[in-house]
């Protein structure tokens, strides 16, 4: 049972490059989320999707885009990476936006140099 899987686990990226962080879940959850974790700031919501085909902006959406073509996949794209996007990124899913429990992936550590 995989649950929710993120790839890659870590990446060093040159500034200005494009990067897509992958997230896949096999729980058939409707809602999915992308967060970034930074010291002293906790987990900040980047983008979310309540169901396949819909997405919404979170607290810190600038510089990121997402798509939700199907239930299982929720990729996060950095069109042109900047050093301030150095962070640990977590993908999460929950059965519905009404549900209280979200399941998290193991995280992607991204360093932009």
């Amino acid at each position: 049972i995989a649950g929710i899987t993120q790839a890659p686990t870590s990446q060093i990226l040159a500034a200005g490059r494009r990067m897509t962080l992958r997230c896949t879940q096999d729980m058939r959850h409707n809602a999915m989320y992308w967060y970034r974790q930074d010291l002293g700031l906790g987990l900040r919501l980047i983008h979310y999707s309540n169901t396949a085909g819909t997405t919404g902006k979170g607290e810190v959406p600038d510089g990121y885009s997402v798509s939700r073509a199907n239930t299982d996949d929720f990729p996060l794209t950095l069109a042109s990476a900047v050093p301030s996007q150095t962070s640990v990124y977590f993908c999460a899913s929950s059965p519905s936006r009404m549900n209280t429990e979200a399941f998290f992936g193991q995280g992607t550590r991204l360093t932009v140099v």
């Binding site: 979310y48 977590f90 936006r97």
Partner: protein, 113 residues
């Protein structure tokens, strides 16, 4: 604009004693509150939640208290164990709105043997 705030970055308690982690929120539309636990190099895992129609929810050693008038909630761990040492995140969601799951900054708990 931090809608969910954990003002104590860290807390240290002795094994067997009570740990109390606090959380404040500003958005009166939040109607579910959750606590997550995070170990290093892992994704957060769900711990306990409470609906805004309740003022207490208990699950084993963990109890969450909600004071709606003060927009404050707390997590009590009794008795604390060394394995409880982790970062604890408070989170809130407004089910009647967009479904954004918003987290606080986190509190690092250290339980000393």
């Amino acid at each position: 604009d931090q809608q969910v705030k954990q003002n104590s970055p860290s807390l240290s308690v002795q094994e067997g004693r009570i740990s109390i982690l606090n959380c404040d929120y500003t958005n009166s539309m939040f109607d579910y509150f959750l606590w997550y636990k995070k170990y290093p190099a892992e994704g957060p895992t769900f711990l306990i939640s409470i609906s805004s129609i309740k003022d207490k929810n208990e699950d084993g050693r963990f109890t969450v208290f909600l004071n709606k008038s003060a927009k404050h909630l707390s997590l009590h761990i009794v008795p604390s164990q060394p394995g409880d040492s982790a970062v604890y995140f408070c989170a809130a969601i407004s089910s009647g709105n967009t479904g954004k799951l918003i987290f606080g900054q986190g509190t690092t708990l250290q339980v000393k043997p």
